[in-house]
């Protein structure tokens, strides 16, 4: 897959492979993926558990455990993250790239007041004085929609509700005005009405502060709501990349088509839901051909032997299927 580096590209991932060395041998979690994140965009990384989406995010932050092996390049504004020294990546983390995790209760420090946790990021990456930082933290807390920030500054995470905690996590992430925010299932642990609030907040941050967001989720509804373009992952491979509306109006990979049919919709009432037969291949399975072949209703002989290349379908829509463009 070749894409040209354009002016507007913030992050360029090329042929990224991640495997974990374990007693059972090398386990490939990500099997060679390439994608671009444009400036000021929100890109969704969607797939089911175990497809490698979170590992990809951790690789961009260089937060993988020591038994992980990385190859390929992750180019962030002209610098290759894969080859960076620990010192360099430390400067980048939290200031230029930051991350929001799924469960704020486990990602926040339970022993620190929340204000101090936001302050820590500023202290690490800026030269502001204590007083300036305090005022800055209060402003950031107000930006993420926390009421009465002067009072909340002195609260501990357990004293806040789930939605407020996630707002604190977001405040930490945006404190240094990063150009890239990675949000790994940031609303999965929250209720629908709170989820709607947080999605709105992330959209506002993207619009007002110009941060690009990689939004990781298994929920197509949320992806449609917030993202400008979408990358669909399956078993360590990228299988389809498209602008959001193109993907939802005309998916071109059998996996994406199947997933969309499997979501209960208003008009599916009273009918049997489509379910993709079989299950996701295990990380230990050798996959010589297309990873989706065993579950695919369109599969034919060639799919067993050969991994399809990306097929361009126009308007930045690409699908990794021999039959892309002819499926429906």
């Amino acid at each position: 897959m070749e894409r040209t580096i354009s002016e507007g590209t913030l992050l360029q991932v090329r042929d990224l492979k991640i495997s974990f060395t374990t007693v059972k041998g090398d386990l490939p979690a990500v099997r060679g993926i390439s994608f671009d994140i444009g400036r000021n965009s929100i890109v969704g990384l969607v797939g089911e558990s175990g497809c490698g989406k979170s590992v990809t995010a951790l690789a961009i932050m260089r937060l993988l455990p020591s038994n992980a092996q990385l190859s390929g390049t992750i180019d962030f504004s002209g610098r290759n993250i894969v080859a960076m020294h620990e010192e360099e990546i430390r400067k980048l983390r939290g200031s230029e790239i930051s991350m929001i995790f799924q469960e704020p209760l486990t990602s926040l420090n339970p022993l620190w007041k929340v204000g101090r946790q936001i302050d820590e990021n500023l202290k690490m990456h800026t030269k502001m004085s204590g007083g300036e930082r305090f005022r800055s933290v209060i402003d950031i807390m107000r930006d993420v929609g926390l009421p009465d920030p002067e009072r909340l500054y002195h609260k501990y995470p357990h004293e806040l509700s789930g939605g407020m905690r996630q707002r604190i996590a977001i405040a930490i992430a945006i404190a240094c005005r990063p150009s890239l925010i990675i949000a790994d299932e940031p609303t999965t642990a929250l209720d629908v009405t709170i989820q709607a609030q947080i999605l709105q907040l992330l959209k506002d941050i993207n619009r007002e502060k110009g941060s690009s967001i990689i939004f990781i989720s298994h929920n197509f509804g949320i992806i449609r709501e917030i993202c400008t373009s979408v990358c669909v992952m399956y078993a360590g491979h990228l299988v389809e990349v498209a602008p959001t509306e193109k993907l939802f109006c005309g998916p071109e990979h059998p996996y994406t088509i199947g997933l969309m049919k499997a979501i209960p919709k208003i008009d599916s009432k009273g009918r049997e839901l489509y379910d993709i037969p079989g299950k996701v291949p295990s990380i230990t399975d050798a996959l010589p051909g297309c990873p989706f072949e065993p579950r695919c209703e369109y599969a034919f002989e060639r799919c067993k032997r050969e991994l399809p290349q990306f097929k361009a379908l126009g308007d930045q829509h690409e699908s990794r299927c021999f039959l892309a463009g002819e499926l429906r």
Partner: protein, 320 residues
């Protein structure tokens, strides 16, 4: 409605908190505040709401894992509010529960065979060969085969674990299944498999479901009737299609509009703030602090539940 299998009348459940002041009675979490509904045989009844609204407490109280603080429950016409001993054991054969977190509800140190035999032994089946036969015969119900019997839960995928969870509920041949968020922990493609399986089982075994979930999309797909709960109360109850076409309570309206991706054109209602603390619910209508249609009366007077059309009731001052 004919042939009501379960009826719940003014069910109340309060959890006392730890005593903080010597002479004052301890604060209470008001998990259920007078919940009433009835479920007809063969129907799927959905209970939706956000975390802390009391939907799981309702499920656990019905199967008598919790003692109700007040109200009455009837199963097949029999008052089950205070039953004990043999009658309770019999009831538990008729009502079974499927849990959300199968990783937590299946004993990690036991094989699938042991897990499936436990309900049989608890109900007094002694003969080993009979237990074994029952298990082998029933595996097909959830599309598994005998190769699974000697595996441990950690050797199963999420979908397979949930199938075992479902089977251990079905193995006693119950009539009524409480499904407490049975698909929330599963991936979309597996979720569809489990929902289809549960639907098919319902037809084959003529089961009645009480389906508890926070996912309105799933509940709407699965259930015939839906009750929406907020802070321990049912705020709206209607047939699924009716509720979707014509949500009346502002909370239901906001829930439907908050389903991501559901409406790309319609007006999105984003509620402000969090759900209030159930130890100290607001005066008047419990929803009024977050309501976008709040009126003066809502702040001090509790609305009454009114029937606005057949099988559609709502608890809101907008519908006097």
């Amino acid at each position: 409605m004919s042939d009501i299998i379960l009826e719940v009348r003014d069910l109340v459940k309060h959890y006392p908190l730890r005593r903080t002041k010597l002479l004052e009675s301890p604060a209470r979490v008001r998990a259920l505040n007078g919940v009433s509904f009835s479920i007809a045989r063969g129907e799927s009844f959905g209970l939706v709401g956000e975390s802390g609204c009391g939907k799981t407490t309702a499920g656990h109280t019905i199967i008598k894992l919790l003692e109700p603080t007040g109200g009455k429950m009837f199963f097949e016409g029999e008052d089950i509010t205070t039953i004990k001993g043999e009658r309770l054991k019999y009831l538990r054969r008729k009502i079974q529960i499927i849990f959300q977190d199968t990783a937590g509800s299946l004993n990690p140190k036991k094989t699938v065979k042991w897990i499936l035999s436990e309900p049989l032994r608890a109900q007094g089946m002694r003969s080993r060969s009979e237990i074994e036969r029952t298990i082998r015969e029933s595996l097909g119900l959830v599309d598994l085969d005998e190769s699974f019997l000697d595996r441990y839960p950690h050797e199963l995928s999420g979908g397979q674990k949930q199938r075992i969870g479902i089977l251990s509920a079905l193995i006693l041949n119950p009539e009524f299944i409480i499904a407490d968020e049975p698909v929330s922990a599963l991936d979309v493609s597996i979720q569809a498999q489990i929902l289809n399986l549960m639907k098919n089982l319902q037809k084959r075994l003529s089961l009645t479901y009480l389906f508890i979930s926070h996912d309105l999309g799933v509940v709407h797909f699965f259930c015939d009737r839906i009750a929406v709960m907020y802070l321990g109360e049912i705020v709206e109850m209607a047939e699924a299609t009716d509720l979707y076409a014509n949500p009346c309570h502002p909370y239901t309206q906001s829930l439907f509009s908050a389903i991501p991706g559901a409406s790309t054109t319609g007006q999105r209602i984003i509620l402000q703030g969090d759900a209030p603390d159930p130890t100290n619910p607001p005066q008047g209508c419990p929803f009024h602090p977050r309501c976008f249609k709040r009126m003066e009366i809502c702040t001090h007077t509790r609305p009454k539940t009114v029937e606005i059309s057949r099988e559609h009731s709502v608890c809101c001052h907008l519908y006097p």
